[in-house]
């Protein structure tokens, strides 16, 4: 225990621990950091910028050398990150960016916008024509906003696709299930549902299954293992895989590099593109990672 405590600490802060994507993200970062001889701690801010603020304070107070952070809001996180920097703690943002540069040591961002576009393109290809519905994440979350923006850049230019319902399911599978059931009732000719993340997509798929309707295209976002399973079985058409593991490892490596040399040797913003996962290539991925 003693020499464990003597190791330098890297605090890892992710949005939540009960979502497979963030779970994988956090675990990957922790694993790498421990490989590199760091002490780690994973906390979740549940997309509550104030809780994130407190967690960063706690990290500062417990003398963390670096913070790996998947932030709680591109605007509402800035002051916290700035405070950490002021305390001389290196901050490495993963997955989501913040609206300023020069504060964080690195922003290794999963390109939600590009990811949204590619999955939307696949959705448009698959749906061809007709009515579709959108399930948004928690509308007060930045990512929900970016993704829906990306979806619409594509889908609004596809004249044969008509948006008939857009509801928030707050990232929740149960809520997506119920709302989809209701939407299906309202729209007999629904051809597709584009969801803001995989859990909602799975909820929608379950609802479609229990409704007995066939041929409704469902796409998700994240690339979770559960989604992969659903893609294999055809319940999901596609998802946009954010390379969580890659990003986390990168962030930790750069943190390590920075702590040892005083620089990351990389540009601050590194935007990692998302991969489109469909039945065709689903077997090339495992746990948010490209394996072949």
């Amino acid at each position: 225990h003693r020499e464990e405590l003597s190791k330098p600490l890297i605090a890892i802060i992710v949005p939540s621990q009960d979502n497979p994507y963030f779970k994988a993200e956090g675990d990957a970062a922790a694993a790498r950091a421990q490989q590199l001889g760091y002490r780690t701690r994973i906390d979740a801010h549940n997309d509550d910028a104030y809780r994130q603020d407190n967690l960063i304070d706690a990290a500062i107070a417990s003398g963390a050398e670096a913070i790996v952070l998947d932030n709680a809001g591109s605007e509402s996180s800035i002051s916290a990150v700035r405070r950490a920097k002021a305390e001389g703690i290196a901050v490495f943002l993963i997955d989501r960016e913040i609206q300023v540069t020069g504060v964080a040591n690195a922003q290794i961002i999963a390109d939600n916008h590009q990811g949204a576009r590619i999955v939307a393109e696949e959705f448009a290809r698959a749906t061809k024509e007709g009515e579709y519905a959108e399930l948004l994440g928690r509308e007060s979350d930045t990512n929900a906003q970016i993704r829906t923006k990306g979806f619409h850049e594509i889908l609004d230019t596809a004249p044969q696709l008509k948006l008939v319902a857009a509801q928030s399911a707050n990232w929740s599978q149960a809520e997506a299930f119920q709302k989809t059931e209701t939407i299906l009732q309202g729209h007999a000719k629904l051809a597709g549902i584009i969801a803001g993340n995989d859990t909602m997509a799975l909820g929608a798929a379950a609802a479609i299954k229990s409704s007995g309707r066939k041929g409704i295209v469902v796409t998700g976002f994240d690339g979770s293992p559960d989604a992969a399973t659903a893609i294999r079985s055809g319940e999901l058409r596609a998802t946009s895989l954010q390379p969580a593991v890659v990003i986390s490892r990168l962030a930790v490596d750069e943190a390590d590099h920075f702590l040892k040399t005083g620089s990351t040797g990389k540009p601050e913003k590194q935007i990692i593109p998302c991969d489109l996962v469909t039945r065709a290539n689903v077997d090339n991925y495992r746990d948010f990672e490209k394996i072949r």
């Binding site: 939540s16 621990q17 009960d18 979502n19 497979p20 779970k23 509308e139 319902a165 857009a166 509801q167 928030s168 707050n170 929740s172 599978q173 149960a174 299930f177 119920q178 709302k179 059931e181 209701t182 939407i183 299906l184 009732q185 309202g186 729209h187 007999a188 859990t199 799975l202 909820g203 379950a206 229990s210 293992p225 559960d226 399973t229």
Partner: protein, 356 residues
């Protein structure tokens, strides 16, 4: 003596009819709101009033209705149960765990059938219920705090079971598990059957069994109930057990519907359940209310939610409207009972007894 009985008989007649009117109005209030909503949505959303949609709607209502039915006894006896949402979440996780991981006893892992899983789930939920009951009726902790504590404990436990992960495709592990949430009987979803079954049982218990009456008695006047020889702690214990049982059932239904168990399931369900009970005309002070009311209240909340989704009303407005409906419905209830208090005496103005 004569004059007294005279007063009584005449005042009785009025009082009774007054009481009946009151009762009808009271029921009517929830029903009224419900009917209004139904008309509104049918008018605005063509596909709302279809058999298919109503069946789905009822299935959604079932969730909060079952919780509300369980909550009714707790509230009737003057308590409250904030833990039902967490308990539902925990229940789903227990089932998910057993179905996917099996039970490991002394090194060897068994893969018990669906019924064992269901049984174990309910059992664990009852343990939480018993904890609530014990804290309230024995340790003398205020129900609000006791169940707030178990809310956290149960939620944390649910998250710990899978270390935050979801137990995925339960269907693959146990196809028959889909039954609870997904199957139909005579073209009516099983959850709806469960809801009506529970409703029937609960309404029967409330109206026809000594237990039911004891619940009302305790809510009405706990001291009197105790002096009349009612074993108050035991009754309270049962109310919390029943509430936890219903919560467990909900957890199973949701897990079965999603074919997956997610540890965060059920967050803030308790608020819906409480709102349903109160909309149904049950007083948070206890002693006054009915299971039927709670069912109607649950329908109000469910119809509102689904209807607004159908109309494509934005999430944000949905929240506001929900708040407004809750407050309005209850405020109207109060107003009405006030009016009654005002207007009954005026009826009694010309009773012979006074003149005698």
């Amino acid at each position: 003596m004569t004059s007294i009985s005279a007063t009584l008989s005449s005042s009785d007649r009025l009082a009774s009819s007054g009481a009946r009117i009151a009762l009808i109005l009271l029921r009517a209030r929830a029903v009224l709101v419900l009917v209004l909503l139904l008309i509104l949505f049918s008018a605005l959303a063509p596909s709302f009033l279809t058999a298919a949609n109503l069946s789905i709607l009822t299935k959604h209502v079932a969730i909060s209705a079952i919780l509300a039915i369980g909550m009714t006894f707790v509230i009737l006896s003057g308590g409250i149960d904030l833990s039902v949402g967490s308990v539902a979440g925990l229940g789903g996780m227990v089932a998910g765990y057993i179905l996917t991981q099996g039970l490991t006893l002394g090194g060897t892992t068994y893969h018990p059938g669906v019924f064992v899983a269901i049984f174990a789930t309910i059992a664990l939920c009852l343990v939480v219920g018993a904890l609530n009951g014990w804290l309230v009726s024995r340790a003398g902790v205020a129900p609000f705090i006791a169940t707030l504590g178990t809310l956290y404990i149960a939620r944390g436990a649910a998250l710990l079971m899978s270390n935050g992960k979801t137990f995925p495709n339960l269907a693959a592990h146990a196809p028959s598990f889909a039954f609870i949430g997904q199957s139909f009987l005579l073209r009516v979803p099983i959850p709806v059957w469960l809801m009506f079954a529970l409703f029937a049982v609960a309404a029967f218990i409330a109206a026809k069994t000594p237990f039911g009456r004891h619940v009302y008695a305790i809510g009405g006047n706990e001291r009197a109930a105790r002096l009349a020889g009612i074993v108050v702690p035991r009754v309270k214990m049962y109310t919390f057990l029943f509430s936890a049982f219903c919560a467990g059932l909900v957890g199973l239904i949701i897990a079965s519907q999603l074919e997956a168990a997610h540890p965060a399931t059920g967050e803030s369900f308790e608020l819906n359940a409480i709102a349903a009970v109160v909309l149904g005309g049950t007083s948070l002070m206890g002693g006054r209310g009915s299971v039927t009311g709670s069912l109607i209240g649950a329908f109000v909340i469910g119809v509102l939610a689904d209807g607004l989704v159908m109309l494509g009303v934005s999430e944000f407005w949905q929240i506001v409207i929900k708040g407004v409906v809750i407050v309005l419905a209850v405020a109207i209830d109060q107003l009405q009972s006030r009016l009654q208090a005002k207007f009954l005496p005026l009826l009694l103005r010309s009773t012979p007894g006074a003149g005698a």
